[in-house]
């Protein structure tokens, strides 16, 4: 193990004029079977390496294209919506809005064959036969005015084909061309006489809607307006003016209200349990509380005053529970519930809505 690591480290520091020879392997993995390599090794190169036997003509390709490709790429390869255009755009590469198609831009036909074969049709990849891929490739050549309608593409004639823009590409030369300028010592002061804004994104207005950013901008404007200028008070985004809080609350038992109640219930669960498997604890279990006579939960030892209230007809409705938790000791003096009370009526409505979702 240590020898292996050592050799790895040595390799790491070497320069790679040639592949370093590492004496040892772990023997992990297993030999790939020829059938497995054949199934996955589907790539094609410009020199024809990897091309399988087969052929297809323009007319066959047209039929396939109409059913398999045209709904995204357009009848003439012009591209529907934002889907890629495959044909046209000749001579457009120097225009303001160049159109980069197979005929106008792509350097190699093998790329077309390879991509159709590996990834098309979109959403049904690798469903075409080799002959069908040849035929669709032939039709795409036809759409780009590269061949006549009697053309048939095959493994045999494939590498004779040249795309018009093959020589339009060259190796990345940023380091030699741009770096001499971009590695100069940068200016630190008085680097230009004056600075003007020449373009604003807001003029184009193509930014996706962002309600949070909008709210923050509104806040910036509101604070500036309130302070009569750029000065502004400290505030958190939470301090946005609230919408009418009654609006949600009036829609009793809306999911939002119940969710609010669930959150408020945190104040209760120190003593009470509710939901599946709930039992009596410090306080009585609350499943089915709404509609039950007060002081009647089996097995719970109530304060005398609560039992008495039940005996004399107090039934826990949404209203009575709400009145009770607003001020438990005021509502039923000498009861044992040690809770100071929930003053906010909206909060009580939410809590009761939450409790009402648990029946016995």
């Amino acid at each position: 193990m240590s020898r292996f690591l050592k050799s790895t480290l040595i390799c790491a520091s070497a320069t790679f004029a040639a592949l370093p020879v590492m004496a040892q392997t772990t023997g992990l993995g297993r030999a790939a079977l020829p059938e497995e390599v054949a199934a996955w090794d589907i790539d094609i190169r410009p020199d024809g390496a990897g091309l399988p036997d087969g052929s297809g003509d323009v007319w066959t390709g047209e039929e396939l294209y109409e059913t398999q490709c045209a709904h995204c790429h357009g009848t003439f390869g012009e591209g529907m919506g934002s889907w890629p255009a495959l044909a046209g755009g000749h001579g457009s590469l120097t225009h303001e809005h160049p159109e980069k198609t197979i005929g106008s831009y792509w350097p190699y036909l093998s790329t077309v064959w390879d991509y159709v074969n590996r990834a098309m049709p979109y959403g049904m990849a690798q469903s075409l036969t080799h002959d069908e891929v040849y035929a669709i490739t032939a039709y795409l050549m036809y759409l780009n005015d590269l061949v006549d309608d009697d053309f048939e593409l095959s493994r045999e004639n494939f590498t004779e084909i040249r795309l018009p823009n093959e020589d339009g590409f060259y190796m990345d030369d940023r380091v030699t061309l741009e770096w001499p300028l971009f590695t100069q010592e940068p200016c630190m002061s008085d680097c230009k006489p004056d600075v003007q804004v020449t373009m604003r994104a807001a003029v184009l207005d193509v930014t996706p809607d962002d309600p949070i950013a909008d709210a923050r901008r509104e806040q910036a404007r509101a604070m500036a307006a309130a302070s009569g200028g750029g000065d502004a008070s400290v505030s958190t985004p939470d301090a946005e003016p609230a919408a009418d809080p009654g609006e949600d609350a009036r829609a009793a038992h809306s999911p939002e209200l119940i969710a609010q109640g669930e959150s408020l219930y945190r104040a209760c669960r120190t003593c009470h349990q509710v939901g599946e498997g709930a039992r009596n604890a410090v306080g009585p279990m609350l499943n089915g509380i709404i509609g039950r006579s007060a002081g009647t939960m089996d097995g719970f030892r109530y304060s005398p005053v609560l039992t008495e209230a039940g005996d004399t007809g107090l039934i826990w409705t949404e209203e009575t529970v709400s009145e009770f938790i607003a001020d438990p000791r005021g509502y039923l003096p000498r009861n044992r519930m040690s809770y100071a009370g929930m003053r906010d009526a909206d909060d009580r409505r939410a809590l009761v809505a939450y409790l009402s979702t648990y029946s016995e």
């Binding site: 390799c11 792509w106 350097p107 959403g123 990849a125 373009m199 120190t270």
Partner: protein
Amino acid sequence: MSEEFTGRASAARPDGPSRRGFLRGAGLAGAGLVAGTGAARAASPDPLITEVQPWAQFLGDGVDAAPYGKPSRHEAHVIRRNVEWLTADTSSSVNFTPIHELDGIITPNGVCFERHHAGVADIAPQDYRLMINGLVDRELVFTLQDLLRLPRENHVYFLECAANSGMEWRGAQLNGAQFTHGMIHNCMYTGVTLRTLLNEAGVKPEGSWLLAEGADASAMSRSIPMEKALDDCMIAFKMNGEALRPEQGYPVRLVVPGWEGNMWVKWLRRLEVGDAPWHHREETSKYTDLLADGRARRFTWEMHAKSVITNPSPQAPILHGHGPTVITGLAWSGVGKIARVDVSLDGGRNWQQARLSGPSFDKSLHRFYFEFDWDGRELLLQSRAIDDAGYVQPTKDALRDFRGVSSVYHNNGIQTWHVHSNGEAENVEVS
């Protein structure tokens, strides 16, 4: 998502009656302190202090309330976002990291931007296979368990899409650092170097190129020169300590440090050794840089030094008024480390050195800060990264002079935010 800021759902916020009532009654101005020099004075006692708050009185969630933890519900707006008009369908599209909401250098896994070419592949770990074939002594198949028995390494690297800022070539377009610079994330990867892995198969002397191929429905494929593969590339099965997220290539992705994100093939299923590049779709039709003369650069793999101020920015205006103000942002270079970041408040006329804080790793995001006293003046904020190779992040116009405006990829020009006197920020270009 926007509850915290629109106030729409305030009625459902159980923050407690006293606080809500206070805010409703007091309005914005009374909610806090008036900014200025020295300690400010509150007009009346803050009920958040003088009244016992619910969270200080009642029990909170117990353990296991969230077996896999999520951010605070107050952070629900910190999400990846899509620009719908950019692409035809979300299965072949991109969204953006909310860099204006983050700090430090590590991107949380759940908000790392996504780029798919045929949606997210769903692969069970026991169904995962990695094949090495081509010009090797032994064509091999590995299971995930096999890969976990090879020596592992940990590295922090940024991944930036070559098209990050690509919408800005023709001028300022999108109002938000998330949208102009959010096709980037920075994670610690755990995995096995290609040097180790390829040694198992034994690369033949003529093997000078590597094809990496994904298992998704686009069978994403890229050619990588063997020199890079053996230098610092790795396969990763963990990001930031946990398994790769499905949208980041679970269970295994390729890591190509400092080079364009498209090469970091996700759901990696195959590595083929060859003696020439394959010129596949993602290195011909796409990810080539069309220049003004109609010719195009190919194999523009390296991501050159770049930076952006994330706060303030259009989605994150200054909301605290005058006085102490923190400018912060990110800088990175696919060539090495960031040596220095400069900040300009006046659109590039004068520059001051920013403060770098946090670990500085090769080909990783760096975090910078610039603290100053804002007097409410309009600002034209810029940042300029300088890497340890001496490369100075250029202006957008300097890039356009070389490349024109049609190259889509590798826009690492200096970004300008116009901060108005009320704190709002806008994406602009300057002379």
